[in-house]
């Protein structure tokens, strides 16, 4: 591969050392969200709406307040005063409305009041004493029904500029893009297939429920400990919702027990702070699993129409898709992302995509790994598979024929830089899985997937100690071993052993702003920042060496952890190791550290291909996945074991989404499966080993070529599995999840 010469230049990057926080995590010592307590701490509990849509007529908290263990009760009124930031607008307003209901409860589980009591049990008991009078309103939870003319209006005036006239007010954002002439393209095709697809909402299903411990005084100064993907966004949002200055709230991120996008916003954190302000004591809130399902941010559900035209030789002549995404009772469903990603793997002359953001009486959706992309890929890649089948073409060959490459005008507009789709498809085709014989009853499916990846605001600070070790402070919580990647990249630049570097997730008071750990940005952006901060420190190390030797600084270079003279006039000096420079840095100019504060742009898009073998039991309708291979472009794998882990984890979540997981709402608008027994995520015995191939086509936007790897892995599974099921059972599944009853129904319909 193109990187080979560059790869041989790495000493640490690309190796697989033990992660720095490994010991803490295998001994039970690591402190997660719910593991913290404080002297005098109270426990919070939240009262939630049992109705999907209801006007809140009256809240009577007197009985609860009279309870002997209760120290504070809050409702929306406790958030309304905003001395520093009057007029909460836009997303802040939405988040406030979601954190604590205003005039209306908008979904089953919507918070309406909260209390703090001296014990968790007392809090749970006393919260029931709060009396709420509701006027129940008609509700809607389905995306297509929410767009129908007679659908109840969730919030008048929520739509933005983009929505065309005459559309139902529940449609709040509209996206349309593409190029060429799709009608002309369809006319050129030998075969056109048009089909409709539906996916249900799923939940990120992180095993750690949301938890926080907050303290806020009457002086407007506060402390917050919470499990989050981004403590700066938590700081900013909580401060806005509580009307205090951002800098007066110090937020510390706990170890985080999974997020996948679901911990990129706040739910209980402002509530704990509001309770604390009232009770003047620290307040801890820990969600139950059922609260996590009912009242955090699942994915959007989707209803989609896709039409693709193909020539007999496999050339796609035109593609068109309409993607309607339901994202709960607030704007934000990623219909635009779905639309932009859906056809992104292909080099298309004629393409048009439309995305809708639709509100319904469900919890406010949050990001879930490549938000919006998996649904669109399910629809598009299913139709391509059907075309391949009808035209008797090899599915990988067809994708190769149409694959986007450097210079292709992407379906979403710009021209691609260097990308790794063709390389990934070729690796998939060459993989022994693709040519392995299938057992009777098995079917094989493949799918491509695309995701943008993200840079985002980033600060990193690196300080050298006098013994020659280094501490790196980053602001992106470590969800999947990122401390290890940071240490590897710092080691690479400094030339000191990986073990001599300690990476800490800094709190909001000790480092500049950092965006959340999302958009697969951590290894890319914090990595780039770590490299630059380390280089910054190296510059200073070279200056000290130059001063010692009495030569110009440009006659000093950094090699294998030492300053060495370089160039004809540098003179002859022994290499000066880092530790010797730091040993007396106090007397040669003071502490040496390096910084980076900027917004790295150029995250580099990535593509993946999944190959799946599946079997369907015709008696029960149960699908088993018998073999699974992930091929994905990582740009450059810093710690390959954790890159593999991201691929495997994405695939497993995708398998759950495809086969089992869904939000089930009753006619009453209540969520019917809010525990893990009923919302069943894949367990160890459901899955095979998940094979991985790391393709490395370097991202021109990163010094080591890194692309984000966290999200793309969940894009292909839905379609890959649906395609495998279609080949195994002979039925095209148009609705997810492909649960046994749905498969049985499809088999029956098929006759």
């Amino acid at each position: 591969m193109a990187l080979d010469d560059r790869k041989s230049g790495f000493t640490f990057v690309g190796t697989r050392p033990d992660r720095p926080d490994g010991l803490d995590k295998v001994t039970g010592r690591a402190k997660f969200g719910a593991d913290m307590s404080a002297p005098g701490m109270l426990h919070g509990a939240i009262l939630r709406s049992p109705h999907a849509h209801a006007r809140i007529v009256r809240i009577d908290t007197s009985k609860a307040e009279a309870h002997k263990y209760v120290k504070a009760v809050v409702t929306r009124a406790d958030f309304a005063e905003v001395p520093f930031k009057p007029g909460l607008e836009g997303e802040f307003w939405n988040v406030l409305e979601n954190v604590m209901a205003g005039e209306k409860a908008l979904y089953d589980g919507h918070a309406v009041a909260a209390i703090a009591a001296t014990s968790a049990l007392a809090a749970r008991d006393a919260v029931k004493l709060i009396e709420v009078e509701y006027e129940v309103l008609p509700h809607v939870t389905d995306v297509d029904k929410a767009m129908a003319p007679d659908a109840p209006v969730i919030r008048e005036g929520a739509a933005d500029y983009s929505v065309p006239e005459g559309v139902h007010p529940n449609v709040v954002r509209y996206h349309e893009s593409g190029h060429g002439d799709v009608e002309a393209g369809f006319a050129e095709a030998d075969l056109v297939i048009e089909d409709s697809f539906v996916t249900e909402a799923t939940h990120q299903g992180y095993i750690e429920p949301h938890a926080c411990l907050g303290q806020l005084g009457a002086d407007g100064k506060g402390e917050l400990w919470c499990t989050t993907q981004g403590h700066w966004i938590a700081q900013k949002t909580c401060a806005a919702l509580l009307g205090i200055e951002t800098s007066q709230l110090r937020v510390t991120a706990s170890e985080i027990g999974g997020g996948f996008g679901g911990k990129t916003t706040v739910f209980i954190e402002p509530v704990a702070l509001a309770l604390s302000r009232k009770a003047n004591r620290p307040v801890k809130i820990v969600m139950s699993r059922s609260e996590v399902f009912r009242a955090t941010g699942p994915t959007a559900s989707a209803s989609m129409d896709v039409k693709i035209g193909m020539k007999k030789d496999g050339t796609i002549t035109a593609a068109e898709g309409i993607f309607r995404l339901q994202g709960g009772a607030f704007p934000g469903a990623p219909g635009d992302m779905t639309a932009m990603c859906a056809f992104a793997p292909y080099n298309l002359t004629n393409v048009r995509q439309v995305g809708y953001d639709v509100m319904a009486n469900r919890p406010k959706q949050a990001a879930y790994r490549a938000p919006g992309a998996p649904m669109g890929a399910f629809a598009v890649e299913s139709v391509i598979d059907e075309l391949c089948k009808k035209l008797d073409l090899d599915p990988i060959d067809v994708r190769l024929k149409n694959a986007a490459h450097e210079g292709t005008k992407a379906s979403y507009g710009p021209t691609y830089e260097q990308i790794g789709l063709v390389e990934s498809l070729e690796a998939a085709k060459a993989h022994q899985h693709y040519s392995a014989p299938l057992k009777p009853g098995q079917g094989r499916g493949i799918s491509c997937g695309f995701w943008f990846n993200h840079g985002g605001e980033t600060s990193v600070s690196l300080a050298l100690s006098e013994d020659g070790s280094a501490q790196v402070m980053v602001g992106t919580p470590d969800i999947g071993g990122s401390r290890a990647s940071m240490a590897l990249m710092a080691a690479e630049v400094l030339g000191i052993p990986y073990e001599n570097i300690r990476v800490t997730i800094a709190d909001t008071a000790t480092l500049g702003y950092n965006d959340v750990s999302h958009g697969s940005r951590v290894t890319y952006a914090s990595g780039l920042a770590t490299i630059k901060a380390a280089k910054h420190a190296v510059e200073k190390l070279c200056e000290r060496a130059a001063a010692k030797w009495g030569i110009p600084v440009d006659a000093v270079k950094w090699e294998n952890g030492c300053a060495v003279p370089s160039g004809p006039n540098a003179g002859d000096f022994d290499p000066l190791p880092l530790a010797e420079i730091t040993a007396n840095m106090g007397s040669t100019g003071g502490p040496i550290s390096g910084h980076f504060e900027a917004t790295p742009e150029g995250a580099g898009v990535s593509f993946g291909i999944h190959i799946v073998d599946a079997e369907v039991d015709p008696e029960t309708g149960k699908t088993s996945v018998s073999r699974y291979t992930v091929i994905q472009d990582a740009g450059k794998a810093i710690h390959p074991a954790y890159v593999e882990g991201q691929y495997q984890g994405g695939a497993a979540q995708g398998i759950g989404w495809a086969l089992n997981e869904e939000y089930i709402y009753g006619d009453d608008g209540r969520l019917q499966n809010s525990i893990f027994l009923d919302y069943r995520i894949p367990v160890a015995s459901d899955l095979p080993m998940i094979d991985t191939v790391i393709v490395e086509v370097p991202n021109p936007g990163h010094p080591y070529g890194v692309r984000g790897v966290g999200e793309t892995g969940i894009v292909p599974p839905l379609a890959a599995i649906a395609n495998a099921v279609s080949h195994a059972a002979g039925v095209r599944m148009r609705q997810l999840p492909m649960s046994p009853p749905r498969i049985l129904a499809a088999l029956k319909q098929d006759g």
Binding site: G28, I207, G481, E644, G649, M689
Partner: protein
């Protein structure tokens, strides 16, 4: 609230606590004994993050009441290492990168240790079924299963 006085053994140490009859063993371990290694992922016995052994049996501590711990011997993740020497399973979990976020890890370690005590030579299928009560959302289980089976192989060789 009238509380019960409970005396029990945790990781070999005798401990006492007062608990409400409604509090689970998990609540007591975490809130009264400060042993926060066992995690609450669900509270309904579905995730295994709270796994401990009670008199050698693997249980979900969220499904057992604190008062039922009276006179029992309880082992938690905090007791798996022998002082500062990690159990081979702990080492292998790190070496295989078998944890990403690590919230499931305490439960997986307790459950896997109990598997290897019962069955030193588990097949992949047996390992997968034994750990089917321990949810991991990050890893897809691949590296966890490999770490456990490789530990089993090492332990067999050593004995």
């Amino acid at each position: 609230m009238s509380k019960f006085h409970v005396t029990t053994q945790v990781n070999g140490d005798e401990v006492e606590f007062l608990c409400d009859p409604r509090e689970t063993l998990l609540d007591c371990l975490r809130d009264k004994l400060n042993l926060t290694g066992a995690k609450e992922g669900c509270g309904t016995g579905d995730c295994g993050a709270c796994s401990v052994t009670v008199d050698g049996r693997l249980v979900c501590s969220c499904l057992m009441l604190g008062v039922e711990a009276e006179g029992k011997q309880i082992e938690t993740v905090e007791g798996i290492a022998d002082g500062d020497v990690l159990h081979p399973l702990q080492k292998k979990m790190i070496e295989y990168a078998a944890l990403q976020c690590g919230i499931c890890t305490p439960g997986i370690l307790v459950a896997a240790k109990s598997l290897l005590e019962k069955n030193p030579n588990p097949t992949e299928e047996e390992t997968r079924y034994w750990l089917a009560g321990n949810l991991c959302r990050c890893t897809g289980y691949d590296k966890i299963i490999r770490a456990v089976m490789d530990t089993a192989a090492d332990l067999r060789e050593a004995s």
